[in-house]
Amino acid sequence: MLQVGKTYDPLLKRPFCIFKREGNVIQFVYRIRGKGTRLLSNCKKGDIIQAIGPLGNSYPAPKKDFIAVAGGIGIASLFPLLERFKNKAFLFYGARTKNELVMINKAKSLAKKIFTTTDDGSIGQKGLITDVLNDFLENRTMPVYAGGPMPMLQKVSDIVAGRGIECYASLEEHMACGVGACLGCVVKTVSGYKRVCKEGPVFPIEEIVW
């Protein structure tokens, strides 16, 4: 959780996944989406903001080749996997438009193979990344790791359902405390509400009740 500024509006910290850690340097990648991220983007070198973490869980390590499905800025959650398991990932990376396929070249260099789509066809195939994934998955049973907006994750869930494919999704939810105290960021699962900040953000996708 990162403090975005010393204001009362926005008030709360914002949750981000850790993009990269090298020694004492931690990197985050985010898209400017609202007041909080805009304020954060105004930070200058040397500014001090409060951060708490690491919080919650992470993707379990894949044992062999795997599929990574990223929707837009959701790529940030998958990058640590791509870096740690170089040339092991079939990466499916979709976004609304070319500019939102961030770090595409870096991702290309880390993945075994990459498939890209944009909603407007400005780069890669025009359409949804989940459709490309669906075609690719035929007869394959590699584990799937997915990070992106909820509608995309739900599609991934539908695609892998009943195929005996191991699949993990990293969820996004509004958060207040980030430490499991406020119960604000829950997701409905087959075993009741679970806290995205504490039991998550990564869940076996079949546990999620959409």
Binding site: Y8, L12, K13, H174, M175, A176, V179, A181, L183
Partner: protein, 302 residues
Amino acid sequence: MELTVNIGRLKLKNPVMTASGTFGYGEEYSEFVDLNKLGAIVVKGLSITPREGNPAPRIIETPAGMLNAIGLQNIGVKTFIKEKLPFLKKFKIPVIVNFFGDSIEEYVKAAEGLSKADGVDALEMNISCPNKQAGWIVFGTDPKVAFEVVNAVRKATDLTLIVKLSPNVTDIALMAKVAEDAGADAVSLINTITGMAIDIRTRRPKLANITGGLSGPAIKPIAVRMVYEAYRAVNIPIIGMGGIMNSEDAIEFMIAGATAVAVGTANFVNPSVTLDIIKGIESFMGKGGIMDVKNLVGGLRC
């Protein structure tokens, strides 16, 4: 310098406690805060049987505040005593347990269950809940019903009993007096103020529950006013809360009439803020030559 205050039979080493629902069962924040330094800890509200809570989204940020509709999700009195209380017992500070019910019977059962447990030092009853036996009218908004439920709980427990008042009333002084007359040892105020936010593009409410409770600095002036009004109406101690972000806010509440303060939403913004507030109060007292923190209480000059 004297920082201790008394709430009923509780002796607090300083006037700063946590607000129920914002600090979990203590464990969640123990990595950030030495709990032994707090005046007291108030844990998340419990009911006699567990509650699943509301669907998501449950929280949304608003200017200088947040709306929440958690729906009183909790593990229930029994599981709390078995699984959470042993951790809290390790600390030397009073453990205040918040609880609620949707009938007088449930309130009484929860109070009895908690009173028997070793390690519960005081009870805080949340009366901002709808009464299923009376058309779902909120207990804490009807003086007669509020008296009845507080009085029933009073008879069911020997522990220090704090009644947490709802601000969604026209006359908070009256409600504070009702709680006192019904046997409360202290009142705490304010609970969240009912609010609502709408996404204008989808025309849908931002919370799945449609309405929620507003907290944070946005509500502080309302809370200070209500503490001031309650202070003039009752003789029992008041625990003030509502948007306290720093020691200056805490001191403001004390001057309005609060003997102690509770910090809620600010814990989300800075998990160790309670400790900063305690230090800030000490430093304010030092600079102002205030020897006893009790000298601040109700010290308003009009």
